[in-house]
Amino acid sequence: MINTPSAAMRSNGSNTDEILRVENLQVHFPVTKGIVFQKQVASVKAVDGVSFTLRRGETLGLVGESGCGKSTTGLAVIHMLAATGGRILFEGDDITTFDKSQVKAFRRRVQMVYQDPYGSLNPRMTVADIIGEPLEVHGQDKDNAKYRARISELLDLVGLAPYMADRYPHEFSGGQRQRIGIARALALEPSLIVCDEPVSALDVSIQAQVVNVFMGLQRRLGLTFIFIAHDLAVVRHISDRIAVMYLGRIVEIATRDELYKNPLHPYTIALLSAVPVADVEAESKRARVIVKGEVPSALNPPSGCRFHPRCPMAMDKCKTEMPALVDQGGGRVVACHLHA
C-alpha cells in the first residue's frame, strides 16, 4: 500500500493559502558495485513516500531520529537533491520538473539555514560579503548604496549591529554566526525557509536567543518555516504543526498541542516518552515507554510497518502490510494499523 497524498491533503482543510504540497516524495540513493562497469545493486530509500502540506506563515516541525530522512526531505524541498519520485508543488508549480532558469528563480523564493554555524560560513569572506552573496548572484550591484543599506538592514533584523559587517566569521560566537546564516537566508526575501537543525550546535543558553530570532522574524515578515530538528522540546516551542518521521516515512502529523498532549502513533509515544523533562517533580510522575533496539538500516528496511520490530503494540498485520496515512480528524494523520 502506497500512502495516499489525499490523506495529507484532506487534513489541511482550505487550500487557498497553501505554499507547499509534497506528494509521495521519494529520494532513493543508488548503491553500486564495481569500478569500471558499475551496476546498481540496491538503493537506500532515504525518503520513501512522504506527503505533507504547508500553509503560508506556518512552521512545520519535522522530527525524527538520525537516518529518518528529515534532512533529505528538506534538501529535496529546496531542490538541492533530486527527487526520484513524487511531486513537490511550490505555489502550485512542480519543482521536480523545473529547468535551470526556473530553478534559479525558485532559489530566490526558498532558502536554507544550516546546522553547523562554523562550517556553513566561508572563513575568508567578510560578513557583508557572506550576506550579500545571494544579492550579487541574483544580479544586484555591489557598489550600490542600496546594497550596503540592505546588508545593514539584514544584520539589524537578526539582532546584530551594522558595524559588524566588515568582520570575519571567526570573530563571532556560535550564536552570532547562526544569526549571520539567518541573515544570508533572508537576503532575497524568500517566502519559505528550510532550517536544518539550526540550534542543535549551540549552547543551551544561546539556543533560546536564536529560537526567539526565528519566531520574531516569522511574526514580522510572515515567513513560512520547515524546522528540522531532533530536539522535541525546541520543535514544540517553535512549530504550529509537527510531522514525525521514521525510516523514510511520515508516521504522524498533528498540530503541536495535539501531538504532545495525545500522541497516537506508538513511535511518537515512545519518542516523546524518551525525552526527559527538565523538572524533577514532573519527570518523576511521567509514564515511560521504552522501545527496544535502534533504528534499522534504510538499505534494508523491515517489511510492513517499518516500526514493527521495535513496536510494543505490533500485531501480525504490521509485519506484512504497510499502514497508510489515515486522517483522524482535527488536522491529524497517522500511519498505524491501530488507527486505520
Binding site: E65, S66, S173, G175, Q176, D203, V204, S205, I206, Q207, A208, Q209, V211, N212, H230, L232, A233, V234, R236, H237, R256, D257, Y260, A270, L271, L272, S273, A274, V275, P276, V277, A278, D279, V280, E281, A282, E283, R286, R288, I290, V291, K292, E294, V295
Partner: protein, 323 residues
C-alpha cells in the same frame, strides 16, 4: 548518607594557551557517596569535562596542569600518587565512559578483547577466563547474542551498542566510581533513554558512585540525585536535584531553566534567553564570571569573586545577591 568515596577539594586546573594561562577549573570542590549519582552540568567551556579528566589525571601536560587541590578517593590523594599507582586505579576502581564511543574504542581489536583487557591487566585473570567474563558483561549490558558479539569489531556495532560496550568495559573491574562524560550526546533520544536507564540501574545495583557530566537539564532531572552547576570553571550552585529544580537560587541556574523549552507544560510561555555569550576563559572578569550577563548584578559583583555559601541544608550557591 554514607561517607563519600570521592572528595574533590579546591581543584584548580590551568592550561597554557596562545592567549596566556587559562584557568579551566577554578577552586572546585565536591564529593560523591557510594550509590549516589552526581550530575555536573554546564555549557561548553564551563570546565565540566576538565574536572572529570583531572580526577583521573588525564590532563595532557603540557599544555595543561593541575595546579592545586586534593582529590581524595577512598581516603587517598590521587594527585600525590605515582604514575604506576594511578594506572592501577584507572579502569579498575575508577572507570570512565566517554562521549564518542567510536573514537574511544580501538578499531583493530575485538570488542571482547577490549572489555577483557582491564580484567586481564588489573586482576591478572588469564585471557581465556577474561574473555569469558567479557561475554557475561556484554549480556549484562543487554547486547543481544553476546557469545558471537564478543568477537565482533567496533565498526560492526551500532552507536548504541558501542556505548553499551563502553559501559561493559567500565564495569569490567567492578569500579567504585564511574565517570560518564556526556555518554549519550552522540545518540538518538530513544537510545539515550535505554543507555542511561541501563547505566543508572547497574550503578545503583552495585552501589557504585556515578558522576554524570552533561549539558542536558532533562537528563539531570531524570537521573541525578545531586547536581553541581558549573560556569566559567567554577561550581556556582549545588543542591539535591529535586531542590535545585524546585528552588534554583543562582541567577545563571534560574536563567538556564527559563531558557530551556520543555516538552510538557505551557506552550505560550516565551523562552527567556540569557543574553550575551558564555565567558571567555582567557579573559574572565575580576568578579563573578556571570556578572556581564546577570540582570541582578551589583557593583560588588564586578570586583568580588563569590564563593559557595549555604542557602539551605544541602543547597549552596556562589552568588553575592541575597533573595
Amino acid at each position: 548518607m554514607s561517607a563519600p568515596i570521592l572528595q574533590v577539594k579546591n581543584l584548580t586546573t590551568r592550561f597554557r594557551t596562545e592567549r596566556g594561562m587559562v584557568t579551566a577549573v577554578d577552586q572546585v570542590s565536591f564529593d560523591v557517596a557510594p550509590g549516589e549519582t552526581l550530575a555536573i552540568v554546564g555549557e561548553s567551556g564551563s570546565g565540566k569535562s576538565v574536572t572529570a579528566l583531572s580526577i583521573l589525571r588525564l590532563i595532557p601536560d603540557p599544555p595543561g596542569k593541575i595546579e592545586s587541590g586534593e582529590i581524595l578517593f577512598d581516603g587517598q590523594d590521587l594527585l600525590k600518587m605515582s604514575d604506576a599507582k594511578i594506572r592501577s586505579i584507572r579502569g579498575n576502581s575508577i572507570a570512565m565512559i566517554f562521549q564518542e564511543p567510536m573514537s574511544s574504542m580501538n578499531p583493530a581489536l575485538t570488542v571482547g578483547m577490549q572489555i577483557a583487557e582491564p580484567i586481564n591487566l588489573h586482576r591478572r585473570t588469564p585471557w581465556n577466563k577474561a574473555l569469558e567474563m567479557a561475554r557475561g558483561l556484554l549480556g549484562k549490558v543487554q547486547i543481544p547474542d553476546p557469545a558471537s558479539r564478543v568477537t565482533a569489531y567496533p565498526h560492526q556495532f551500532s552507536g548504541g551498542m558501542r556505548q553499551r560496550g563502553m559501559i561493559a568495559m567500565a564495569l569490567a573491574c567492578e569500579p567504585k566510581l564511574i565517570i560518564a562524560d556526556e555518554p549519550t550526546t552522540a545518540l538518538d533520544v530513544t537510545v539515550q533513554a535505554q543507555i542511561l536507564d541501563l547505566l543508572k540501574d547497574l550503578a545503583s545495583n552495585s552501589n557504585t558512585a556515578l558522576i554524570l557530566i552533561t549539558h542536558d537539564l532533562g537528563v539531570v532531572a531524570r537521573y541525578a540525585d545531586r547536581v553541581a552547576v558549573m560556569y566559567g570553571g567554577r561550581i556556582i550552585e549545588t543542591a539535591p536535584a529535586r531542590e535545585l529544580y524546585a528552588n534554583p537560587k543562582h541567577p545563571y541556574t534560574r536563567g538556564l531553566m527559563a531558557s530551556v523549552p520543555r516538552i510538557d507544560g505551557d506552550t505560550s510561555r516565551p523562552l527567556i534567553p540569557i543574553e550575551g555569550q558564555p565567558p571567555d576563559l582567557a579573559s574572565l572578569p575580576d568578579g563573578c564570571a556571570f556578572m556581564p550577563r546577570c540582570k541582578q548584578a551589583t557593583e560588588q559583583c564586578r570586583t568580588t569573586k563569590p564563593s559557595l555559601r549555604q542557602v539551605s541544608e544541602f543547597h549552596f550557591k556562589a552568588c553575592l545577591i541575597d533573595d
